[in-house]
Symmetry: C2
Subunit: 305 residues, 2 copies
């Protein structure tokens, strides 16, 4: 397998997933691996084995491979804690990473820190690396970034530093309501009604305080008026995203947002923002993660480690 | 068992519970039975068996016992559908009940209808009987009633009729967040910090659009500032109840509320309302359910059925 051996390995290790890219100078498109061994299902002493299970075909005896990782793997309940950097600060680089005491001599694993904010209290792990990727791709970028996800982050970036940020639980609340609440009965199909989505965005932005009543009305409208599943799903999403946008736009006037994330998540955010007169640009979350890990790697190479 | 035989049986049959009271002229304090055979775990053809399992010691061959029931047992997915009455209307009485086609000849079961509202779409099943109980105990009651629960109802009552109502998903969202979300890590103890609760009520009422960010801040404050469990739990509850109160009080100025529910649920609502200058009176949910079923029974007796 030596012919396949990577120069180094980039790892994105979140709560629900583990992804790795095999990287080297000769490789235009890196091989990518993934598993469901997210931090959420691993005890601290299980991380190394989970990583070896994924990487084994790419490791060779007697040779140390450098691994640069980001995400929840560095949380207190993760593999090895990488203490937060505090805002205002640039995205942490390789000099801030912790070297994990791995048992297997073929692994040299570094974990990048997350970022914290004392007031209002907030934390991120993983998104800071995507922001590093954005700054590597677009040096001098200033502005507002939104990273949609289970816990959506809104980040203000200036002069290469993260000034402040705020996390909204929109994605997790959507997931809980659509899978576990009385509203699950309305999630019959993947259909999507764009107009219903934008109408719900407006409703929630204009009357955010009524969102938990509007949510129950979805159930009642299904019982009483046979609300179509495409309207139901779009309106559930729109009410929660609209509540978030009401909060974000009340904190500060924003006329342009750069979205970093999957198409499935960023698309509806972009549509909602544009309907409210905000310009929205979209970047791939995976591409930014990889760009951020590469930026960290280049810092490691410069150190000559 | 004839000596124990009730004249009639009152049944409160919700999503998660089945409760029955044995009633008769000689019985001052009715015997109460309950089981976990809620509507949520029963298929339509399992209801009769679940009821017989509970009532069997009180039934005798050759004698028909009258049963008056309320709650989700009358939903479309329940035992037998009791179609909604539509607002504005008084709480439905026994004349609006459906007679269930039970197979066992010892049972004559009637289910009271729920209430619907076309716009904004809303429904209730069970709470209308508690309201009937309030009206039986306090004829001529006019005002605003709050029935805290999984789906908290706010009801406007005038001249003996339910004029309109609105349901908030506060209880279910609290339950999902505290048991299934990232916030579950903070639910370590049952402790309760009253000041933190009232502060969160104020925060959510003043900035309802930031609630989903304030929720994530609870997690971050635990990680960064060791937020005490008593503050965590009280603040989670206060943010969600505060969002609801912001919605209710924006719809209409209210200076007095009658709460119907358990002490555990009504207590915090009463405290929040009083802190905002609203008078709050509390009535037992069980007592109002039983009073409402008794009022329905008296209608049945008058019919001479």
């Amino acid at each position: 397998m030596t012919g396949q051996m990577p120069e180094w390995i980039a790892v994105d290790w979140g709560t629900t997933h583990l992804r790795a890219w095999m990287l080297g100078p000769a490789r235009a498109e890196p091989a990518a691996l993934s598993s469901a061994d997210g931090m959420g299902r691993l005890a601290p002493d299980e991380f190394e084995h989970a990583l070896l299970r994924l990487l084994d075909p790419y490791l060779a005896a007697g040779r140390v491979v450098q691994v640069v990782a980001c995400g929840m793997v560095g949380a207190r309940q993760g593999w090895f804690e990488a203490p937060y950097a505090a805002v205002p600060c640039p995205p942490p680089g390789i000099r801030d990473a912790v070297l994990v005491p791995a048992r297997d001599p073929r692994l040299a694993v570094r974990i990048l820190p997350g970022i914290s904010q004392a007031n209002p209290p907030d934390v991120m792990r993983g998104e800071e690396t995507q922001i590093a990727g954005l700054l590597a791709d677009t040096p001098g970028f200033d502005g507002v970034i939104c990273l949609p996800g289970t816990h959506t982050k809104w980040v203000h970036l200036r002069n290469g530093a993260i000034e402040r940020f705020r996390t909204f639980m929109t994605g997790e609340i959507y997931d809980l309501l659509s899978r576990h609440s009385v509203l699950r009965h309305g999630m019959l199909r993947d259909a999507w009604d764009r107009n219903a989505y934008l109408e719900a965005i407006d409703d929630a932005m204009e009357r955010p305080r009524l969102v938990s009543a509007e949510l129950f009305s979805l159930r009642a409208a299904t019982l009483l008026h046979d609300m179509p599943p495409a309207v139901f799903r779009a309106r559930l999403s729109g009410l929660l995203v609209g509540l978030e946008l009401a909060g974000v736009l009340a904190l500060q006037a924003i006329d342009q947002v750069t979205l970093i994330g999957s198409e499935a998540l960023s698309g509806p955010y972009a549509e909602a923002l544009r309907s409210r007169g905000v310009r929205a640009e979209r970047l791939s979350g995976d591409a930014m993660t990889l760009a951020g890990l590469k930026a960290a790697w280049s810092g490691l190479s410069e150190k000559g480690t």
